[in-house]
């Protein structure tokens, strides 16, 4: 039995600001000061298109959000860089406030503001995806070796997505492939399988950050009224996403595919496994291509970033929840600089052994992404 460390003791041991774990933060959001930052990576044709039409999504507003967020730019109030620009747009300030302050050893970038896969014009989707990847390299990974980029792809056009993956696959600073989670179809559908085949072949995990305007209502019961509801619907969407991968047989076909589910928390994961298994008996004849219990695919092929962390009143309930999911399945994420970001010092209120902390804050991520520490 390893020594258990209380959160308070962990803080004392680590000092006020530096965590000695060598934290791997699996969800950091770099921002642009403006879309024009992409122009230098766009051809004249798409530069002109961007300037005249901009990104067009399946939602009511050309700019703005049908569910206004709780904070400007979705961000922590203290994350606006003193030198100007939106939160997450200034590498020096991100270093000072986040990477250095928390002793982040590796940070996985998740650019959200431009979503190539979400764009409705196919050619523009492809151009935007490539531009965002160039921008990540130029503005971020080349400026700080701790930052790792996510390969954005125009996933609705699988051959184009595969081309973009192959362009970046050999580059050590590009460690995963991003698809929007609310796509035109549930991601398990066969139209996306060439992407999975390439990801498995190239050894790239899928890093699926909750994102996308599918045009479908945000819940199976329709459109909620409030951000309070929309924000919680994220986990619902991710649960259905995983079910799609499993029941379509993606993991039977691509058993070495790794899928990281980002920014949905994890408290809901056990219930997904239980419900899939309880229904797999009466409905087994519909999905004979599955050779294992659904929850076994869950246990084998999926990982989850921790933010926004679940907060049961009883610390023991958190521990049991993680038991159900597997201590090797959780990857710490801060979601910096967003308003609901998690602070690595305070995120878990339950006792953890040193080995458990190392796994969740660093080791699990290094294993998934193949980044030796």
């Amino acid at each position: 039995m390893t020594t258990s460390v209380s959160p308070a003791a962990a803080l004392r041991a680590e000092g006020p600001a530096h965590d000695q774990l060598g934290i791997v933060d699996c969800d950091i959001h770099p921002a642009m000061r403006g879309m024009e930052e992409l122009d230098r990576f766009l051809s004249p044709r798409w530069r002109k298109h961007r300037q005249e039409y901009g990104i067009r999504l399946r939602q009511p507003f050309a700019g703005g959000d049908p569910y206004p967020k709780s904070q400007p730019a979705l961000a922590r109030r203290d994350a606006w860089p003193p030198g100007g620009g939106p939160p997450g747009s200034d590498l020096d300030f991100m270093r000072a406030q986040h990477l250095d302050f928390h002793g982040i050893a590796l940070g996985m970038l998740q650019p959200l503001s431009v979503r190539g896969m979400d764009e409705r014009v196919p050619g523009f989707a492809e151009a935007l995806s490539a531009a965002v990847n160039e921008w990540q390299r130029e503005a971020w990974t080349s400026g700080d070796p701790r930052l790792k980029a996510t390969i954005c792809v125009p996933g609705e056009d699988a051959p184009a997505a595969v081309r973009e993956m192959e362009r970046w696959a050999g580059q050590p600073d590009f460690v995963q492939v991003a698809l929007v989670t609310r796509a035109l179809e549930p991601l398990g559908r066969s139209r996306y399988w060439p992407i999975f085949e390439a990801a498995e072949h190239l050894g790239l995990p899928l890093g699926l950050h909750s994102l996308g305007t599918s045009g479908h209502a945000i819940t199976g019961g329709g459109w909620p009224s409030f951000y309070y509801e929309e924000h919680q619907a994220v986990a619902l969407s991710l649960s259905a996403l995983i079910a799609s991968f499993i029941f379509e047989g993606v993991l039977e076909r691509f058993p070495r595919l790794k899928i990281v589910i980002i920014e949905g928390g994890f408290g809901w994961v056990p219930a997904l496994g239980w419900r899939m298994d309880s229904h797999a008996r009466a409905l087994a004849s519909e999905v004979p291509h599955l050779r294992r219990r659904p929850s076994e695919y869950l246990r084998h092929s999926f990982w989850y970033t921790t933010q926004p962390v679940d907060e049961p009143e009883e610390p023991g309930h958190m521990r049991r929840t993680i038991d159900w999911i597997g201590w090797d399945r959780l990857l710490f994420a801060s979601d910096y600089p967003h308003w609901d970001s998690d602070d690595p010092r305070h995120v878990f209120k339950c006792r953890m052994s040193a080995a458990e902390r190392r796994a969740i804050f660093a080791g699990n991520a290094r294993a998934v992404y193949g980044l030796p520490g």
């Binding site: 398990g188 819940t219 199976g220 019961g221 909620p224 409030f226 919680q232 619907a233 259905a240 056990p270």
Partner: protein, 356 residues
């Protein structure tokens, strides 16, 4: 030794209506002409294909005739062998999902009459939920007002996915009428498919629709909490039929955490949503969707924080268990007693009137 279910109250039984033509005796001339003249008959819900194994247990399918199709089957298959004292009929009939609210209203009314005549009149152990045309709250409230006089109807049935999320204000006349008559509202595993089953689009398989419906139930509960339905109607109870309970702990943790951060947006939610949930939401016990280890069920209920949430149900004729094995293993004695009877009596005041 009697079965543990002896004297229990089954809160989720599904009588199967053969089709709209069965309702002709309960319809007026206009609607009879519509049903016959337009050839309207089967309105089975897509979530429950008649021959799918989940829709009826193999040994509950009669050699001839319709599984779940008559009151004699129900007695022989469930009420008698399990020794049940009362059972609540919740027909999964598609009429509320029609786009024409007048047609839906006529068929719901006729189906409720059919349930009263063919089921309630023929077995004194039975009670029922009433179908209402959910797409038009005024017509739905009319049916509640009309039907409430028959005290054997103990709740209002709504499809788990309708025209809008149910907490939306357009639906409030339904909740007002339900509360006025001490009728809980029960959500069924039924969809009008006004929306894709998930925000990710249309999944491929029936099993996905059933698995994902637990998510739709959650969205509905959150909608009713966030819109203030329970603030406005403090006596209203919400029953989820077929939702499972595995999701409840993390749902409550999230609902509380987000409310602490975002309550300014919904100021009428004036107390912890988890407490609102525990006071107002009840869930039938088939399916349960819990871990294999029996001890974990007690832990889950501890996480949920109330012994009053679970309502006993067989979900007849759906295939949820074999033999007479209707009780989930691992439920501590006190919670089992609450689930089998007491929680139902506390949820449905009309059951108590008639039991005494």
């Amino acid at each position: 030794m009697p079965l543990a279910t002896h004297g229990a109250i089954d809160c989720d039984l599904h009588p199967v209506l053969p089709g709209c033509r069965t309702l002709l005796p309960f319809l007026d001339d206009h609607w009879r002409a519509e049903i016959e003249g337009r050839g309207i008959d089967r309105l089975d819900l897509a979530l429950w294909p008649r021959n799918a194994p989940i829709t009826a247990r193999a040994d509950w399918r009669p050699a001839g005739g319709l599984a779940g199709g008559d009151v004699v089957q129900l007695g022989e298959q469930v009420l008698d062998p399990l020794g049940l004292e009362l059972g609540i009929l919740n027909p999964l009939f598609g009429a509320p999902c029609l786009h024409n609210a007048d047609l839906a209203a006529a068929l719901c009314r006729a189906a409720n009459d059919w349930v009263a005549r063919e089921w309630l009149d023929r077995d004194g152990r039975l009670r029922a939920g009433m179908l209402v045309p959910v797409e038009n709250a005024e017509l739905a409230a009319d049916e509640i007002e009309r039907r409430a006089a028959d005290r054997r109807f103990v709740q209002v049935l709504l499809p788990g996915s309708a025209e809008t999320l149910l907490g939306r204000r357009v639906n409030w006349p339904i909740f007002a009428a339900a509360e006025r008559h001490d009728l809980p509202v029960a959500l069924q595993l039924a969809s009008a498919t006004r929306f894709a089953p998930t925000t990710n689009g249309w999944p491929t398989y029936l099993i996905e629709d059933h698995v994902n419906f637990a998510l739709t139930f959650q969205a509905q509960v959150l909608s009713m909490i966030a819109e203030g339905v329970f603030t406005r109607h403090p006596r209203l109870k919400l029953v989820l039929c077929g939702a499972g309970i595995g999701w409840v702990p993390s749902f409550l943790w999230r609902a509380t955490k987000e409310w602490r951060a975002l309550r300014r947006e919904i100021p009428w939610v004036d107390r912890d949503p988890a407490d609102i949930f525990r006071d107002h939401v009840r869930i039938t016990c088939q399916p349960l969707d819990v871990p294999d280890a029996p001890d974990d069920l007690a832990l889950l209920i501890e996480m949920i924080g109330t012994d009053a949430m679970l309502l006993f149900a067989t979900d007849w004729p759906h295939w949820r268990f074999d033999g007479l094995d209707a009780l989930p293993p691992g439920l501590p004695e006190g919670q089992r007693r609450a689930m089998l009877r007491d929680s139902a009596l506390a949820t449905y005041s009309r059951l108590g009137e008639l039991v005494a």
